[in-house]
């Protein structure tokens, strides 16, 4: 007798197993590229003697701009012919004749620096267009008769985060 073995009944069940949802964590990191620069045109020559042969007491020599994204930066000025921290000198070409002066660097109406090699007041972050400053010279007339000619000094402006 033949026997046939067959599957008479199939029972199929399906189930869905839940797994934990897998999430992700992403880090966002930004760094700001540092900027610290100074730009100034060459100051034009100016008269320092008026028609009465007196020293002109005040002269605005020129403007310059600083761009900085450092929160606290400072400015320094040095003079080639200075005699002290507060007194510079303009030297007559081909001579040892000097006209003394004092100076101020201003932000608007506020003086931020008036001595050589002494750091200015701390300055804030500027805009991308930069912050503007002006350089002023001051002279005291003492009735000295100054020889005619060109008087010069060289100022070195430095901006620093130190």
């Amino acid at each position: 007798m033949k026997k046939y073995f067959v599957i008479a009944l199939l029972l199929i069940s399906l189930s869905v197993l839940h797994s934990e949802d897998k999430n992700s964590v992403l880090q966002v990191v930004a760094r700001v590229s540092p900027l610290l620069s100074l730009s100034m045109g060459t100051p034009e020559a100016f008269d320092i003697i008026d028609s009465n042969n007196n020293l002109i007491s005040t002269r605005m020599v020129g403007n310059f701009s600083v761009v900085s994204n450092y929160k606290a930066w400072k400015m320094l000025v040095d003079s080639t012919y200075k005699t002290s921290a507060s007194i510079g000198r303009l030297k007559l070409d081909d001579s040892e004749t000097y006209i003394p002066y004092t100076f101020a660097i201003k932000a608007g109406e506020i003086t931020i620096l008036s001595e050589f090699n002494i750091a200015s007041l701390i300055q804030p972050i500027t805009t991308a267009a930069g912050a503007s400053y002006s350089l002023h010279f001051y002279f005291s007339d003492d009735d000295t008769i100054w020889p005619q000619g060109i008087y010069r000094d060289t100022l070195v402006l430095t901006v620093t985060t130190d």
Partner: protein, 181 residues
Amino acid sequence: MKKSVILFLVAVVAIGAAFGQALPVTGTVTQVLETSLVSGALNLTLAGAAGATVPSSGAVIKIRSNRPQWTVTFLSSNDGFLNPTEGFTNASAIAYKLRATWLSGTVSGTIINGLVDAAGVTLSDVAGPSISTTGNGKTSADGLSYTLNALVVLPASDVAMFEANAGLTYTDTITVTIAAN
């Protein structure tokens, strides 16, 4: 007297009847509902012209789901701001946006990408911007991939710039969650 036994057979035709036994077959399907970071991090170097938009490096995220409808949500720990690192906490936080650009993969249904805007989407929304599906959103095993970029708009020329300093970075953490709808 003949006796006959009738067996009702389900599923399989039997020739003759001799011996039958129930054989249970059980199949399981594990739910797949996941996001994974395939590559990259969102790193930004903030430099350029005033007002310019700076994109980050790209990170690729993959979405895989055998559930038809799902939502992937992006949540910023700082409400869409990059905060300065410890020691520079007096620096100003930097606002940023997130953009998700489709890279690969398809579904039968419709994908709604809430971060597709080229200018990015703010992350300050409490619910968080999302990518979701309607209809059949089941993915292939390879999933859907998106490139993520953070975007920062540099200050205008008449506004103070972002602060720079050695050791100063600005950071945020984005948590990407996926859930079935």
